[in-house]
Symmetry: C2
Subunit: 337 residues, 2 copies
């Protein structure tokens, strides 16, 4: 990772390198405080079940419906916690991020709720629906070329000029604590869950989920689910160091990020393992949820359901919680059409 990018993401008031590990890894108390802080601004999403899916999996499965979350994804939790964690002085400077997806919209929404400026760097070729979602919350959009380098440079420029606090989409303890509130709620809503599956891209959701679940139930098993086409989290755990995303494509376009300096060690230390699944099984799982849960989920969320069905050995007879991470799907572009 180029040094410039690190300094941007660590910018504003937050510098990962300067903190000790205890400050960087959210505690269950911090996750509980995050839940209180974001409570007025996000949904306590429902937990749904399907007898058909239970039978297919040979397990009792509890779906935590973050696709029904504000702005259509769990990202609202982390972004809202980050924005409402800022001191008044920090808030005056506003926030900034780069995102072509759900994090940008979630941060724009949170900043709007607090009434502070927000800038989102987006590639010019981002989907119109994503641009509208960000602009609709009153964010300033800075367009850039669709390359990681161009995005980092544009964000660095914004941060230098505006002094905005940069909120990383996943490698930030405030964001991770916020994402962990989904699993915290799940354990409050359903007793005796012994296994949790969450999709893994950059690892913010999986980190928060693992920290919450293992704090609440030390023997809980927490799995990340990842497309086989972009199995960098699996590779990273196997090799013991952060492996870059291969650049291959997956229908689960929310899971293309590489693990971060903060999320990698959390996942290494607290997750049970990573399960990888093929593209066809992701599409099949998406349809299955549609037909039996009547929920729109995006392919990235379906990856966790595909993992459930791929590994009978791990889940049979268990009480399994699955974080359905988001539901932002273009109705005109269904993967089976």
């Amino acid at each position: 990772m180029p040094r410039a990018m690190q300094s941007v993401w660590a910018g504003g008031t937050y510098n990962f390198e300067a903190m000790n590990s205890g400050d960087r890894v959210p505690s269950i108390e911090q996750i509980r405080r995050a839940a209180e802080r974001i409570g007025p601004y996000v949904h306590r999403t429902p937990v749904l079940t399907s007898n058909v899916i239970n039978e297919l999996a040979g397990a009792e499965v509890f779906f935590k419906c973050e696709n029904l979350q504000r702005a259509g994804a769990f990202k609202a939790r982390g972004a809202t916690n980050a924005v409402f964690s800022l001191t008044d002085d920090e808030a005056l400077r506003g926030v900034a991020t780069q995102s072509s997806g759900n994090h940008g919209a979630a941060l724009a929404r949170a900043a709007g709720l607090r009434g502070i400026p927000v800038t989102v760097v987006m590639p010019g070729n981002a989907l119109a629906i994503k641009k509208r979602a960000v602009a609709g919350h009153g964010a300033r959009i800075v367009y850039c070329e669709p390359t990681p380098q161009a995005r980092d440079e544009a964000l660095a420029e914004v941060a230098a000029r505006t002094k905005a606090v940069v909120i990383h989409p996943f490698d930030d303890p405030r964001v991770i604590a916020g994402q962990g509130t989904a699993a915290l709620e799940l354990f409050e809503q359903v007793g005796d869950i012994d296994t949790v599956i969450a999709p893994v891209g950059g690892g913010g959701l999986l980190s928060g989920t693992a920290l919450a679940a293992r704090s609440l139930r030390p023997d809980a098993r927490v799995f990340g689910a990842e497309p086989r086409n972009v199995d960098d989290a699996w590779q990273s755990l196997k090799t013991g160091r952060i492996m870059p995303s291969t650049g291959k494509a997956s229908i689960a376009d929310g899971l293309l990020s590489t693990l971060g300096k903060l999320t990698f060690p959390i996942i290494r230390d607290h997750a049970t393992g990573i399960i990888t699944v093929g593209e066809e099984s992701i599409v099949g799982a998406m349809r299955l949820v549609w037909e039996h849960l009547k929920l729109i989920i995006e392919p990235s969320a379906a990856v966790a359901v595909a993992a459930l069905l791929a590994r009978h050995d791990e889940f049979q007879g268990r009480r399994v919680g699955i974080i359905l991470s988001g539901g932002n799907v273009d109705p005109d572009k269904l993967p089976w059409a």
Copy 2:
């Protein structure tokens, strides 16, 4: 309506003509008892909101998600209440109905839960997914020609031979009381609702909704929503007598039935009015719910959302509950594909 059909539907232990009006119109106490009776077997479905839809409607809108109900529709409520209302002697004889849609699956499921025989008369050309849903609950299926007369004759034959209790899909007080539990829950879940919209086909859901809502809040306004192509409920209220469904097609294929002898006077006396909507606005409302609530709803459910958006004058500034009646949609046959 031919006399033979009346006698079949009124058959088994239930004869509408022999009862006085007080027995035939469920009271709020009967709806509350239905809620207790079916509680172990159906979901208490969540209520969801969308800021975008609130803005479009100029109202605060609360969606009661019966698409997330067991078997994918509110029909589970009425069928379960009917089956579990039977005496042990009646139950021994089993139940029967005719249905090409959700009622058949819901009755089959309820009978399976009570462990009693169930026969469903279906047209041979019913969708394979519907046949599987009925058969999957262990029902005996009797196939017939796809005409009302053939269905009635087949059901009469089944009832005569098996002595099964015939459970009408809507014109039955036990079914109406069961459907009314959705509105009962909605009022428990959300305070201060002043307006409710439910789709109307045969009128079981609208009858139960109107009885529950007006009992809980006498000044509540309760609207039925109906496709303009099959506006027989609207015509019936206008003319003061049951008008037959015209036979025209609508994408909202769950709303093609004509009002019944029981549902018509309930709707006449307790509903505020019927709102009719065009086919394009139904499809648009279905997409809107998809995009902003992340829910799969069937076109019949979208009719109520289309009614909300069609009549600003009625709903502006109100707190509106909408019964999203079901979510049984074929993923390969989307109306906008």
